[in-house]
């Protein structure tokens, strides 16, 4: 197993008129070949910013302040846009949040996939590309004849599948799936995620899942990183996080979502408003909403502690939680 992607202390800030927004603050993680990781957090916590940093698709006012993103051994941060274009899709593909609008309405869906193929493999003829798209369609469970339709002639689920097919078009080593199923109904969500997982296993790709739904992620990702206010607050393999959440925020997150499988639990909402990333304070960012906060928490930013093997958490009081959750459970 060798690492395909490594983030080292990534800092990505937005410059706004109101001040600096720290969308990704000291984010680090390693992703190995064939492995999948889930980035979980509320909306606006910086997960999308991380994925956009990896793709280097940042808005004008966003800057990578420091840190490195190694993809396949090369630091993506230092690449020129042209070099980056070679990595995009061929190396890292992406499945977007809003599948509905991710396809250009004025071109045929098949052509949009072919466009990606020919952009990276100029030697592929049009017919070969079409055949590849056809097989991809079969792989994601679409009728290849629908290739020549326009996006508006697809249903939401079909569009999502088409996007998945598109992401696979250039055999990327890594796929970032940003909320791949949010817009779909629950049954379709499940099917698509399962298929995605299956394909990932089959093709031995690495995968980053991004979602606000920890339950969904836990089923498909082998590891999970919980993000809060631009920082990763807890990271471990899915089972560990799901069974033994250490960070108060993780606990809250899990209670926020009904689980399809697990026992019926009362839904607990996390009190307070999501944090404002503007002018981040010098202490634990979860403090205002944390029921377990002590004076200590208001004074410093907690560093990562490895509470069990490969289970990192940035909290001053992780132990207490574990007990409490287990009692409740």
């Amino acid at each position: 197993m060798r690492p395909i992607l490594e983030l080292r202390n990534l800092k990505m800030y937005y410059d706004t008129q109101a001040g600096q927004v720290k969308a990704a603050d000291d984010v680090s993680f390693v992703l190995n070949e064939g492995e999948s990781i889930g980035l979980v957090g509320e909306s606006g916590c910086g997960k999308t910013s991380v994925s956009m940093s990896i793709m280097r698709l940042l808005p004008e006012n966003a800057r990578i302040i420091s840190g490195n993103i190694f993809f396949d051994g090369r630091d993506v941060v230092k690449l020129s846009n042209d070099e980056m274009n070679k990595i995009r899709w061929a190396g890292i593909a992406m499945i977007f949040q809003a599948a509905m609008n991710s396809l250009n309405p004025v071109y045929r869906v098949g052509d949009q996939i072919i466009e990606a193929i020919t952009a990276h493999e100029p030697n592929v003829t049009f017919e070969e590309a079409r055949q590849r798209v056809a097989s991809l369609y079969k792989l994601v469970g679409l009728d290849p004849e629908r290739m020549d339709n326009y996006p508006h002639e697809y249903s939401g689920g079909m569009k999502q599948r088409a996007i998945i097919a598109m992401s696979l078009a250039c055999n990327p080593k890594l796929i970032i799936a940003d909320e791949p199923t949010t817009a779909l109904d629950v049954i379709v969500q499940d099917t698509i995620l399962r298929e995605l997982e299956k394909i990932q296993r089959k093709l031995n790709m690495s995968m980053i899942y991004i979602s606000h739904d920890i339950a969904v992620i836990a089923e498909v990702a082998s590891r999970i990183a919980i993000m809060y206010a631009g920082k990763i607050v807890e990271m471990s393999d899915s089972v560990a996080i799901f069974k033994r959440p250490a960070h108060p925020y993780t606990v809250g997150l899990m209670s926020s979502f009904p689980s399809i499988r697990g026992e019926k639990k009362e839904l607990v909402t996390i009190p307070g408003e999501p944090p404002n990333l503007l002018n981040a304070p010098d202490h634990c960012r979860f403090v205002p909403r944390c029921p377990f906060a002590t004076d200590e928490c208001w004074k410093a930013v907690p560093s990562y502690t490895e509470i069990e093997s490969n289970h990192f958490v940035a909290c001053f009081h992780p132990q207490n939680l574990k007990k409490r959750v287990s009692i409740n459970a």
Partner: protein, 385 residues
């Protein structure tokens, strides 16, 4: 499906036209002071003479009867007889002036469209840069400047100060007195050349779409066939005896075209810029970038292609209004086209001619509306009829 839709639209357009003609007709007849007023200001006319003219124009009939007659005639393009050019039919006058206006303003509108499209595109793409800011402000200024003001300065600068371009008229009499050629014919030939080149471009584009899937091959087919047709047309013009006369007309067109372009490119530019800014924020643009497509491809193929829809509407509709001509431009550049006709007929109280010019513009605008619908169906697959 499409044909049925077009059929429906044409029917709708015919109804709209009837209403439009009715409005124009009754409005002009409701105005105080008509041909009678005109005649009476000539002290040498006897009452009998006035009577004779009124009879000749059918002004002694009841209004509704005049209207029914008029309506019948409009559909056969018989727009009545001009007062000031009596007894020339209005249609003849329009047919004489139309090619001048159509040529001048089609060329200017086309240039303005492409300049506006390209500059709007790059403005939106380079949002936030100083050049963007300056170009936008300059664009807004040329867009809102009082047209005569700009023309005065253009005439002064290019005509009087530099003395490069001819200022007045659409041809040079010193050249034309040696020929029996009618300028109208030359105008029609130039327009025909433009239409043929346009058709070649269209056909080659469709052929390119059909026969190739490679972007570069498509472009090649398109550009090569366009270039061949232009070179061929130029060759024909150069060897033909009327070539020099065509060139003379084009040379006289330079300054007015430049002016109209300056006035109207900004409208297209600003629409394109806004539309483009909205499009850039669409998710499919992010997708296109993520696919690793070169910047230029993302901008042109994805953003501009989708953003161009409102600009195309703008463009086609303004082509419809080409017929009415720029009254100001035509009058200040001595270009006797439809705009001048409208102004002169108004000042001369020539109702039939003014009404004819208005109605003709209406017909063109209606056709433009139809064209917009069809073009939209081509450009935007979401629209199906």
């Amino acid at each position: 499906m499409m044909l049925k839709y077009i059929g429906n639209r044409i029917l709708q357009i015919a109804i709209l036209l009837v209403i439009y003609v009715a409005i124009v007709f009754f409005m002009l007849h409701a105005m105080p002071g008509g041909i009678k007023t005109l005649l009476i200001s000539n002290p040498k006319l006897t009452p009998q003479a006035q009577e004779a003219i009124i009879r000749a124009f059918g002004l002694n009939q009841p209004l509704w009867l005049q209207f029914v007659d008029y309506m019948k005639n409009v559909f056969t393009l018989n727009l009545g007889i001009s007062f000031s050019y009596y007894p020339t039919p209005v249609w003849n006058i329009i047919a004489e002036r139309l090619p001048r206006t159509v040529l001048l303003f089609t060329v200017a509108t086309l240039i303005a469209f492409f300049v506006g499209f390209a500059s709007g595109k790059s403005l939106a793409w380079n949002r936030g840069k100083t050049t963007e800011y300056v170009s936008t402000v300059v664009g807004i200024i040329t867009y809102t400047i009082f047209t005569p003001l700009l023309i005065f300065v253009m005439i002064w600068f290019f005509g009087s100060f530099l003395g490069i371009f001819p200022l007045n008229q659409f041809l040079n009499p010193d050249l034309w007195i040696h020929t029996r050629l009618n300028a109208q014919i030359v105008f029609l030939y130039i327009l025909m050349t433009m239409v043929i080149i346009g058709a070649v471009m269209m056909v080659s584009y469709l052929m390119a779409l059909r026969f190739s899937h490679k972007e570069s091959t498509k472009k090649m087919i398109f550009y090569v066939s366009t270039a061949i047709s232009i070179v061929f047309a130029l060759f024909l013009w150069v060897v033909s005896p009327i070539g020099i006369y065509g060139a003379d007309i084009l040379w006289h067109m330079v300054l007015p075209v430049m002016t109209v372009t300056i006035i109207s490119y900004a409208g297209n530019m600003l629409v394109m810029r806004d539309s483009m800014l909205e499009t850039i924020k669409e998710d499919f643009i992010t997708t296109a970038r993520a696919k690793g497509l070169p910047d230029k491809v993302v901008r042109d193929k994805h953003a501009a292609r989708t953003a161009m829809l409102p600009v195309v509407t703008n463009f086609v509709l303004s082509l419809g209004f080409v017929v009415s001509g720029g009254v100001i431009t035509e009058s200040l550049f001595s270009w006797p086209g439809m705009g001048m006709t409208l102004l002169d007929s108004t000042l001369a109280k020539d109702y039939p001619l003014a009404a004819g010019a208005l109605i003709f513009t209406g017909i063109f605008v209606l056709i433009a509306h139809l064209v917009v619908d069809i073009v939209y169906a081509f450009l935007d697959p979401r629209i199906r009829y």
